[in-house]
């Protein structure tokens, strides 16, 4: 074994060890990586090169990795195709995307929709602000659930939320995850699934002053309420049209 240890283990968790290893190869790619050498992958995963060579043949066949002539490995296009399948399997884009676009137009800040997945929140949809200074989150990014306005919404409204919870909306954060980023978020409900996500505005702290938040808040609340209604859910004091 080379000096780094694989982070995955099947000892107590079930699963198939060689699948774990293969996916750890894919998972060792990071933002900013253009390509990785065999040696670099070995260093990052702790797997023997001979093991990697065999595992990567399967990954290449499936389109998860591409090997180039200089022997380097790059992530492959099948990941993007599957990522799009995942995003569309949520069946939310037609509802969420227009609302994000409008919020971005109205407020000038980046508008995102986060979903909870286990102990994380996933940026499922995003419309970046057109301003040069903005926070950088990408669709697909996985962020911690215990930090940021969206994380607080996804935690606090998991059980539908009380009147006091709603009265506190939008939930705000100042530099919790990224020291210079502010955010405001509200919940989104559907009829079938209850809380399905958090609608969020985010940007640099300098643009999240009290005055600016006072302007954004009613727009965000209205958008969250309207989107919930579109999906068959509703905020309190606004009965569902189906009720």
């Amino acid at each position: 074994m080379t000096d780094a240890k694989p982070t995955t283990t099947t000892a107590s968790a079930g699963g198939v060890e060689s699948v774990d290893r293969a996916l750890s190869i894919v998972g060792c790619f990071q933002a900013g990586d253009h390509a990785l050498s065999l040696t670099e992958i070995a260093a990052r995963t702790g797997l023997y090169k001979s093991t990697i060579l065999r595992l990567t043949v399967s990954l290449e066949k499936a389109g998860y990795l591409v090997r180039h002539q200089d022997k380097s490995y790059r992530l492959g296009p099948e990941l993007m195709r599957l990522g799009g399948l995942y995003q569309r399997s949520l069946r939310l884009e037609d509802h969420v995307r227009p609302v994000l676009r409008q919020l971005m137009r109205e407020t000038g800040e980046s508008a995102s929709f986060f979903r909870r997945e286990g102990a994380w929140r996933i940026c499922a949809f995003r419309e970046d602000s057109t301003q040069a200074i903005r926070d950088h989150v990408h669709e697909g990014d996985r962020l911690p659930l215990d930090r940021g306005a969206a994380g607080h919404v996804l935690t606090r409204f998991a059980g539908q939320g009380s009147a006091a919870d709603f009265a506190a909306l939008p939930l705000l954060s100042f530099g919790e995850r990224e020291s210079e980023t502010g955010a405001a978020a509200v919940p989104v409900f559907s009829q079938r699934d209850g809380l399905i996500g958090a609608l969020t505005l985010s940007g640099p702290l300098t643009r999240f002053t009290g005055e600016r938040v006072a302007v954004m808040a009613p727009l965000l609340l209205a958008a969250g309420s309207r989107l919930s209604e579109t999906l068959g859910g509703h905020y309190p004091d606004q009965p569902s049209p189906c009720a």
Copy 2:
């Protein structure tokens, strides 16, 4: 073995069989699938349920699948994160996206950037037309290389292209891949890699008349040339600024 046979085989191709199997589980999800049952996955992959149950534990741990309380499986968020990593690893978005947006604004049709990956072409970036009637391709989609204007560009200009090839631009297609879709495409070059992709306009045949194509052609050619220059490549008769 259940009645369907797995499509992947390692008999002559190398690789690790259980990794092939695991990835065939992920790969059996199709557009329109919201969730799949264990039985449905077994039918699509030809794997025993007991085998699937073990393989999916690894896939769930890695975030590629999510198992819900009703026992169904859905694609997981890690795919979207990795898909985004792949897209950004191309290091093209900052150059390509603005050009696609402008082309879409100027022409009203969907603008895409396709890359070749083996025997396929991948839609790496896309700006959908805002018109209600438009063709439906998504970023990440994999399309055949031997059909469509973009496919012809990626084939014909692989070796830089001759003067006659450039004179024929933009390459056109009418209902080759989708019977009601028209497309026009030009190549994009970079200094380091030569042909890196095809810039494409596409839409319903009814909007790809001779007159309409005559309007689009110079806009598309200018965009392809400009984008190539931005990336250090160039079209003939337009020497590289670095030369």
